[in-house]
């Protein structure tokens, strides 16, 4: 009902945006439909002509690989179609081409869906698509929450002016308290682990997957979700975006006004005017009398529309994972297979499905953004 109300006249800005999205989906559907139809026509035509040629190839007494048989066949053609040299030459060339294709072209080999886009194929794809969407939704949701927490933690650490682990270790080593060598070593290990974690977060999915392939079942859905979250730099980039918003907001004038109104402004964990660490779990409502509350809310407000570009990048990441991991029966792996077998009609349907997933995300985010804006009188 709420969505219907949104589509009402008074919400014209959102209505326009939704109409643009729908027009985009419609246009893309038309393009793909035309492409599939044309592809089907050309496939029927080419099958027809191949059928004609196949008749000759089916003659079991002629081996077209044998020069003598070929010469005999050529001469026979001259007898039956006297004077039509060009036609006869073309036929021989067509026979050669088909033979070559049957030998080298993967689409002439074991094809999973030899009849192209059928109802059964669509059903099968539908199941895979639902799984793809489910994985995508889970990963997007986890990233949305995790990225915010990572960014908030980084922001608070920045405000606490803590020295880096290496610098702290250096202090210990060069300081008077030489007995704390263990502490220094622990700090160096921490720094190393932090570096490794960064490397992990920036690793493309296939690098991580291949390096653990022999110990973990990399074809499971759980592994895919995990990989979708931590790999390809998606999480770190999304967190960085939120951190950018936090930093930008923290410099705005209204924060200074909040400070002069004596709202808490310390960033020390659990200090009386600081930030209770447990609020990391419910930041939105946990810091009512702290200036950070305003920073967070304003950053979150900007983060919602920015999610669109991250969602698109996340889909890219998931496609890479499915394709590169070679997981049979997954939506994007099938896409790759269909491109290989030149089943472009099926490939087009899969690409349209992916496009639709992104568009639907954009629609949901636009509605969400609109509702948030309404809440604040925009």
């Amino acid at each position: 009902m709420k969505i219907l109300r949104i589509l009402h006249k008074e919400h014209s800005s959102l209505r326009t945006r939704l109409l643009i999205h729908c027009a985009g989906i419609l246009l893309m559907a038309c393009i793909f439909w035309i492409f599939i139809s044309m592809y089907e026509i050309s496939r029927v035509e080419s099958r027809q002509s191949e059928k004609e040629i196949q008749k000759y190839l089916d003659l079991n007494y002629i081996d077209f690989g044998n020069p003598l048989d070929r010469t005999l066949f050529r001469e026979s053609l001259e007898i039956f179609y006297k004077g039509q040299t060009q036609r006869n030459d073309s036929l021989l060339t067509a026979i050669d081409n088909l033979r070559q294709r049957q030998f080298s072209d993967p689409s002439y080999k074991t094809v999973e869906n030899p009849n192209g886009l059928t109802w059964q194929v669509l059903q099968k794809l539908g199941g895979m698509y639902l799984q793809f969407i489910a994985v995508y939704a889970v990963v997007l949701l986890v990233i949305y929450f995790a990225a915010q927490r990572i960014a908030v933690y980084r922001f608070i650490k920045m405000k606490q002016h803590r020295e880096s682990y290496i610098s702290q270790a250096f202090d210990i080593v060069t300081g008077a308290d030489k007995k704390s060598a263990g502490k220094a070593a622990a700090l160096i290990i921490k720094a190393f682990l932090k570096g490794m974690l960064y490397m992990l977060l920036f690793s493309p999915a296939y690098v991580i997957a291949y390096s653990v392939k022999t110990t973990i079942d990399t074809s499971s859905v759980i592994f895919m979700i995990l990989l979708g979250i931590i790999s390809n730099g998606v999480l770190i980039h999304t967190a960085n975006k939120f951190f950018t918003f936090l930093t930008g907001e923290s410099r705005k004038g209204y924060i200074q006004t909040a400070v002069v109104k004596n709202l808490n402004a310390s960033y020390e964990w659990n200090a009386p005017e600081g930030i209770p660490i447990k609020t990391m779990l419910h930041i939105k409502h946990g810091l009512r009398s702290h200036v950070f509350q305003a920073i967070f809310e304003n950053a979150r407000f900007q983060f919602i529309p920015a999610l669109k570009e991250h969602a698109s990048f996340l889909v890219t990441g998931l496609i890479i994972i499915e394709m590169a991991l070679n997981i049979q029966g997954h939506f994007c792996y099938v896409l790759l297979q269909q491109i290989l077998y030149r089943q472009y009609d099926i490939a087009a349907v899969i690409i349209f499905g992916i496009f639709l997933a992104v568009k639907l995300t954009e629609i949901v985010i636009d509605i969400w953004e609109y509702m948030e804006k309404k809440k604040y009188g925009y």
Binding site: R251, A258, V259, V260, A294, N298
Partner: protein, 498 residues
């Protein structure tokens, strides 16, 4: 008289932004801090208030690092009991909280007197008039700049009321608190300031470019005169210095101008704007009286200044933007030379015939109008006349306004490194160099110190002699009334279309 002297140094990436050996603040007094914009008044005040992020700027107060100052008893006291009304009201209000929520946040939650403060700042309206505004989430366009500014001032007065008993050591900073207010509202603000000061005697630092406040203080509150200190921050041989400003200096200058005001003279008309303009669902009326009872077309004549007055938020800038073809109106009619411009005239017509040729406009914020990353000499690149002007001619024009021949160093300086007054003069010069028939000046005295005000006024008068027509919109009525006769003053009123 107890005075606190600060030694302040502020650096950004090893570049000195502000350095002053002796910045004096008289305790339990109103310190009026004058001086051109961009010279460092706000930065110094923010530093004293403890509001600069030590990670952003390298600040030293009395030779101590800023963190040490922030932890001092003095700075803690200022933060706890004081308040800072910031210059730019739009960005200093949280867009995700209503104004009412923001008025009752933090230490203002329990503060008394909100209603009476708001009533005074809104000139005792019916409750509903400001009540409607209080439930608004502030946006760049709503409520108006003046309303936002009054909300911020109300916060300060609420805090003042709540700390009345413990005001010793509290400092209240008002940074250009009337920049968006017309004279009437400005006077209301000053009355409230004086009233609150009289009750609790906190230390007040009032930063302003508006020299006409002097007349108000001296005219209306002679009794507290001994508690008001006028100081002007100025650059002297590249060093910042705080000098005592004598109000007489300004008042005498005004007196002289009034005495020398030229007699009325009807000159040739260049432009006529019909009195009714419709835009953004409102109708704007031009008239010869403040109440709007005598509608009249606005006329600009050769060698004359035309002055358009209106309360803040009425749409003065909107009108001149319509005249310049920058905003499309729903209804307007303007004769310029032989051509009539209306709401149907395409923007290209203005671009082809008007901009930089017949008419030009100088916007109020030089910081926004100029390219701060350009060198001074490049400010004139791209102007229609520059192709026909030699470098020497440009240098001459600069020296005319800056009263000295520009050095190579000055010409190669980035605009961002000029002082506020220099920027404003450069902003004016870019339009003056064009030789158009008309120049529209929107708040031309904005951000100028007294010396620069005098220079700009002289420059406008010189330009008038060449036959150019000038139209002015300015809050600074006291100054422009010495220049414009009543026959060239127009008033703007607004009414909703429905």
């Amino acid at each position: 008289m107890e005075e606190r002297k600060y030694n302040i140094r502020i650096l950004s990436e090893n570049r000195e932004l502000v350095a002053i050996d002796e910045f004096r603040v008289v305790k339990s007094a109103i310190n009026v801090l004058l001086g051109e914009s961009g010279i460092g008044k706000s930065l110094i005040s923010l530093a004293i208030a403890g509001l600069i992020d030590p990670d952003e700027l390298d600040v030293h107060i009395d030779g101590r690092p800023y963190r040490s100052y922030l932890n001092s008893k003095e700075a803690i006291e200022i933060r706890r009991n004081g308040f800072f009304v910031f210059q730019e009201p739009s960005s200093h209000l949280n867009p995700l909280k209503t104004l009412r929520m923001q008025l009752r946040e933090g230490s203002l939650e329990e503060a008394p007197g909100e209603e009476s403060i708001l009533r005074k700042l809104w000139q005792n309206p019916k409750l509903a008039e400001y009540e409607n505004i209080l439930d608004v989430y502030p946006k760049p366009y709503r409520p108006s700049g003046g309303e936002k500014q009054r909300i911020l001032a109300a916060m300060a007065f609420k805090k003042m009321a709540s700390t009345a008993g413990s005001s010793k050591g509290s400092v209240y900073f008002f940074d250009e608190p009337t920049g968006n207010l017309d004279n009437k509202l400005r006077n209301e603000f000053l009355d409230l300031l004086v009233e609150n000061f009289g009750e609790s005697r906190p230390t007040i630092l009032l930063i302003t470019h508006d020299y006409s406040m002097i007349s108000r203080f001296i005219g209306k509150y002679p009794a507290i005169g001994k508690n008001i200190y006028y100081r002007e921050l100025m650059l002297e041989h590249g060093r910042l210095r705080l000098r005592d400003f004598q109000p007489r200096e300004y008042l005498l200058w005004l007196e002289k101008r009034v005495a020398a005001k030229p007699p009325a003279e009807k000159k040739e008309m260049i432009l006529r704007l019909q009195p009714e303009i419709k835009v953004f669902g409102r109708t704007l009326h031009i008239s010869r009286d403040p109440a709007g009872n005598t509608p009249a077309p606005l006329v600009i004549r050769k060698g004359t200044v035309t002055y358009l007055k209106a309360p803040s938020g009425t749409g003065k800038t909107t009108i001149v933007k319509i005249m310049m073809g920058l905003i499309k109106s729903e209804k307007m009619s303007m004769e310029l030379g032989d051509t009539v411009y209306s709401e149907e005239t395409s923007r290209n017509a203005w671009a082809g015939r008007v901009w930089g040729k017949q008419m030009t406009m100088v916007f109020q914020h030089a910081d926004e109008s100029l390219n701060l990353n350009s060198k001074v000499k490049d400010v004139f690149s791209g102007l229609p006349v520059v192709g026909s002007m030699s470098k020497e001619e440009i240098a001459d024009a600069i020296s005319e306004l800056f009263e000295e021949a520009p050095t190579r160093e000055f010409l190669n300086k980035k605009v961002r490194f000029l002082s506020g007054g220099q920027k404003q003069r450069l902003n004016l010069l870019r339009s003056l160099i064009l030789h158009t028939d008309i120049i529209i000046l929107d708040e031309p005295l904005n951000g100028l110190d007294f010396l620069s005000v005098a220079k700009v006024i002289t420059m406008i008068e010189t330009k008038l002699q060449s036959g150019i027509g000038i139209m002015v919109i300015s809050h600074n009525e006291e100054v422009f009334d010495t220049m414009v006769g009543p026959e060239n003053i127009y008033y703007l009123n607004s009414s909703s279309l429905d």
